[in-house]
Amino acid sequence: MEEKILLEIRNFSISFTQYERGLRQKELTVIRDLNVRVRAGELVAVVGSSGSGKSLLAHGILGILPYNSRCEGEILYRGEPLTRRRLKKLRGREIVLVPQSVAYLDPLMKVGRQVRSSRKDAESKNRVKALFRQANLPENTEDKYPFELSGGMARRVLVSTARMGQPNLVIADEPTPGMHLDAAKQTMQAFREMADGGAGVLLITHDLELAVETADRIVVFYAGETLEEEPASAFMQEETLRHPYSKALWRAMPAHGFASAPGSQPYGADRPEGCIYGPRCPEYTCACGAEIPFVPAGEGWVRCLRCVEQGEGGEET
């Protein structure tokens, strides 16, 4: 199994240097101690609400973070560190990004040309046409400018960019918001097909429902930290989930009562000591004020003292 791990992110953190009042510098950590693994042929969904730092995770993997950011930890691709040089060779070919919004398209270039990266050969042109037809886009979409596309069309165009080549690893950043349910499902199906075709897909989304339907494994992401990782099947019932936040997410799904947990996600500087979910957790004890490790539990992993105490725990990473 080990050699089939395509992408492994170990203890990954992203922080920003900010200036506050005059020249005092401040480190703002937006992603902390993140661990994710994607195997070939697997669709892993990172689920978190907006503002949890999900997009930065995608940008961090592809090395396109802003200049005032700093990454720590390791990213391994096919077992070897993904250095800047290696990344430069791989991105766009083996590793592709499906970005979040139409803002990622050049506003002054026709989308057909953008999808084929300005290549002019007939083969590329035909491939774009075929991909657009496959994505149910209207006939002349390749001659349109981004401002002429609807939100849903723009997203389908963005997904098509990933299918131009034969990628081994697809990082998709919120590919479905603003789409009709049918179109969203179709888009998810496109990612499922890519995974079934042997690629690893890391899908970043806030839509737990769609993720449960299509993904193999789900990583719950909260305020820049991974709280739980489970097979998608664990999200069928509340009982099979471990972390109180995962349970709250489950209860917030429309089919399960739409219940919202009180409080809101802390942001960067307001990070509490110890468990990041502590202030909102109904089961908070004083022991939760210490650093909480991410440990294997059952088929998944969890970052919660209470869950480990309940006897399913393992050793620290």
């Binding site: 991105r91 766009g92 803002a103 050049d106 300005s118 400018y145 401002f147």
Partner: protein, 329 residues
């Protein structure tokens, strides 16, 4: 229909602008403390004249006519296409302007093209290499030049190339003491080099700094990030995305710089004694040659307006959001 409306609107705006500019220019000349008789005839000559002669001169320079009446007289003729007769040159203002404009046009065009092309190139170089040495070099150059008065730079170049190195003429637009027929085109070019270079050097700084900022904005944009994530090289990004997206602001800048170059030419032509439109404007101003001054003001205002108008029209041609968005209404 839409285009016709657009042109009509612009035309009305232009007329209003010209009217306002002429009133402002005339008002300023009327307020000028310069006495045209003293300035143009001289205190000593004036002292030896009879009252009769003085009255004649006064009416020639229009001293005894109320300003409003003088303005209306001028405006009436101007509307009919007659810009009047220059009091200093004793020729039709249109003829004087035609000669001076041709002289200046070379300077202005040269400076306009060079500052545009070079400014764009330096701006892109700096913006793409933000924070590294090419950026720092361009910034140092631009900020230094932007804070240097054009006339001082002109003097400096004059000292270096005309006085010390003696490779270029000190001033004027043709060699001194040469018959007009024997002046070659090359002579004219040689005389225009220093003033044109001065104007270009100052123009480059401004355009480079503005372009740099635009390039930085583009390079930080999400679509450039995505292009990077798709494996496009820096060169490909510049060619495919950067140039495309800075073209529109660059066009605006380029056409807006016309006014700055014309403004700068007034000082620079003065330093090099270059007989162009700028120098004529100074002569007309200090000599109270109202018809000539107003004529020059109108012509330059028209040139600047035409530049901006052209930029507006080109926007519609270049920007698909205006071009296609407009079609769909």
């Amino acid at each position: 229909m839409k285009n016709l409306n657009f042109v009509l609107k612009k035309l009305i705006r232009m007329l209003l602008l010209l009217a306002a500019v002429s009133v402002a220019a005339f008002g300023l000349v009327s307020l000028s403390p310069i006495d045209p008789l003293q300035a143009n005839v001289g205190q000593a000559a004036l002292g030896s004249m009879s009252e009769e002669q003085k009255d004649k001169l006064k009416s020639y320079w229009g001293v005894d006519t109320p300003p409003v009446e003088r303005y209306l007289n001028w405006a009436k003729d101007f509307v009919r296409g007659d810009m009047g007769v220059s009091l200093l040159y004793r020729q039709n203002v249109s003829d004087v302007i035609a000669v001076k404009l041709v002289n200046s046009l070379f300077l202005l065009l040269f400076a306009w093209v060079i500052s545009g092309v070079l400014g764009l190139a330096l701006g892109i170089l700096a913006g793409v290499n933000r924070g590294r040495w090419p950026d720092k070099a361009v910034k140092v150059y631009s900020l230094t030049i932007a804070s240097t008065p054009a006339f001082w730079l002109a003097l400096l170049l004059l000292m270096i190339f005309a006085v010390w190195l003696k490779v270029l003429p000190v001033g004027l637009s043709v060699p001194i003491g040469m018959e007009a027929e024997s002046v070659t085109f090359l002579d004219r070019v040689r005389h225009a080099i220093l003033p044109a270079v001065t104007l270009s050097i100052t123009g480059v700084a401004n355009i480079a700094l503005h372009t740099r900022q635009k390039v930085i904005d583009v390079m930080e944009s999400e679509y450039v990030l995505f292009a990077q994530a798709r494996g496009e090289s820096t060169w490909q990004i510049i060619r495919h995305h950067c140039l495309r997206n800075i073209l529109l602001p660059a066009m605006t800048l380029q056409f807006a710089s016309i006014s700055e170059i014309i403004g700068g030419s007034v000082l620079v032509e003065q330093v090099f004694s270059y007989p162009g439109l700028g120098q004529a404007a100074v002569t007309a101003g200090t000599g109270s040659d109202v018809p000539l001054l107003l004529g020059i003001t109108m012509i330059t205002a028209l040139i600047v307006f035409a530049g901006n108008f052209l930029a507006n029209v080109l926007y519609g041609v270049v920007d698909p959001r205006i071009r296609r968005g407009g079609e769909r209404g």
